[in-house]
């Protein structure tokens, strides 16, 4: 990527819930590489929205807390309405590196895939706790068995969707199970998917916050329940 002009129709969607302490920094870091950043403030109780606004993002605020999946869908819809050609989903807690957006984009351009998923296991996971690594690998095996999509990392919030993919994918799992729902839909809609190596930085903040895997065990339960609810 490098220059902003190259990715004029690239939108970065960041769902955020009570990320006031870090969101400003995250938005600024992303905006250094990509102009269009939309924060979906999922009814935070802190100043997440104001911080993001100040850092230059477009801010959408849910009037009630709906969950990360719903926030992603809101942001994607907004980006599409603004004519986005590519949509990148990015975590608010600072565990993703903005440079990796370029890696996703390059991978898309090279492969022509509809969806590019970031994989920490192709790339690097810094300071990943052992239990978390184990749970994530279990999730991968589970997704492989149940959806037939072969991935190395099933629960990475860093992904790139082409407009074609973003228009078709509908996230209905409001809470955390959306990650596997997205993969299910990629499979069901016949979209092509590739993985790109990205780095996850497990900072003290992101671990404490545990945005994605607060209780690592929960995600396995949610995966299971989501399957039952189909």
């Amino acid at each position: 990527m490098g220059q902003k002009s190259q990715a004029v129709d690239l939108w970065v969607v960041i769902p955020a819930f009570n990320e006031g302490p870090v969101i400003g920094k995250v938005v600024m870091a992303v905006r250094a590489l990509c102009h269009n950043v939309v924060i979906v403030d999922d009814c935070s109780g802190d100043d997440t929205g104001a911080q993001a606004l100040e850092a230059g993002a477009t801010v959408l605020r849910h009037p009630i807390n709906l969950g990360q999946g719903a926030a992603l869908q809101t942001g994607i819809r907004y980006a599409l309405s603004r004519g986005a050609g590519y949509i990148v989903t990015f975590d608010a807690d600072g565990q993703h590196r903005p440079e990796d957006i370029g890696v996703l984009l390059d991978t898309q351009v090279k492969t022509g895939a509809d969806v590019v998923l970031g994989s920490r296991f192709l790339g690097h996971a810094e300071n990943i706790p052992r239990l978390r690594r184990m749970i994530l690998q279990l999730a991968v095996v589970y997704m492989h068995i149940t959806s037939g999509v072969k991935l190395t990392d099933a629960h990475n919030g860093l992904r790139l969707l082409t407009r074609r993919a973003a228009e078709r994918i509908r996230i209905t799992q409001a809470r955390m199970a959306h990650a596997s729902e997205i993969i299910d839909q990629i499979d069901a809609l016949g979209l092509t998917v590739v993985e790109a190596p990205v780095t996850i930085v497990y900072t003290e903040y992101s671990l404490r916050k545990g945005q994605k895997l607060g209780n690592a065990f929960n995600i396995l339960i949610e995966l299971f329940v989501a399957r039952l609810n189909k």
Binding site: V40, T58, L60, H62, T74, T172, A174
Partner: protein, 118 residues
């Protein structure tokens, strides 16, 4: 007997409710009416439940009524569950629409910092 008066009173209220619901949902109204009328009949002639119970293979009439009640409760709670899910979906859509209508952009982006219609 006092219990009969109480039960019939309650069932008559059900009938009244069914009557008032008639415009909203004919089917639901009819279902409630039939259940309430059957209930009133069985309260008035409890001995008839015993015959019916033996016919379908249940020991006592009271047990038969209990089992039927159980099934009806299950159907009602599943129906409610579905409605709750539907409502959740609608609320999500509504909240999303509000969020999209109220998009805000910062001042240095040529936005007003406040409202930004899409």
């Amino acid at each position: 007997m006092i219990i009969q008066v109480l039960l019939i009173g309650g069932l008559l209220l059900c009938l009244l409710y069914a009557f008032m619901q008639n415009q909203k949902s004919r089917l639901l109204s009819k279902a409630i009416s039939i259940i309430a009328l059957t209930g009133i009949y069985l309260v008035l002639f409890p001995e008839h439940t015993n015959g019916l119970a033996r016919f379908v293979g249940v020991g006592r009439g009271a047990d038969l009524v209990l089992y039927c009640w159980l099934v009806i409760s299950l159907i009602v709670s599943m129906h409610l569950q579905l409605q709750i899910l539907q409502l959740q979906g609608l609320i999500t859509e509504l909240a999303r629409e509000m969020a999209l209508q109220g998009a805000r952009r910062s001042l240095d982006e040529g936005g007003t910092g406040t409202h930004l219609g899409t």
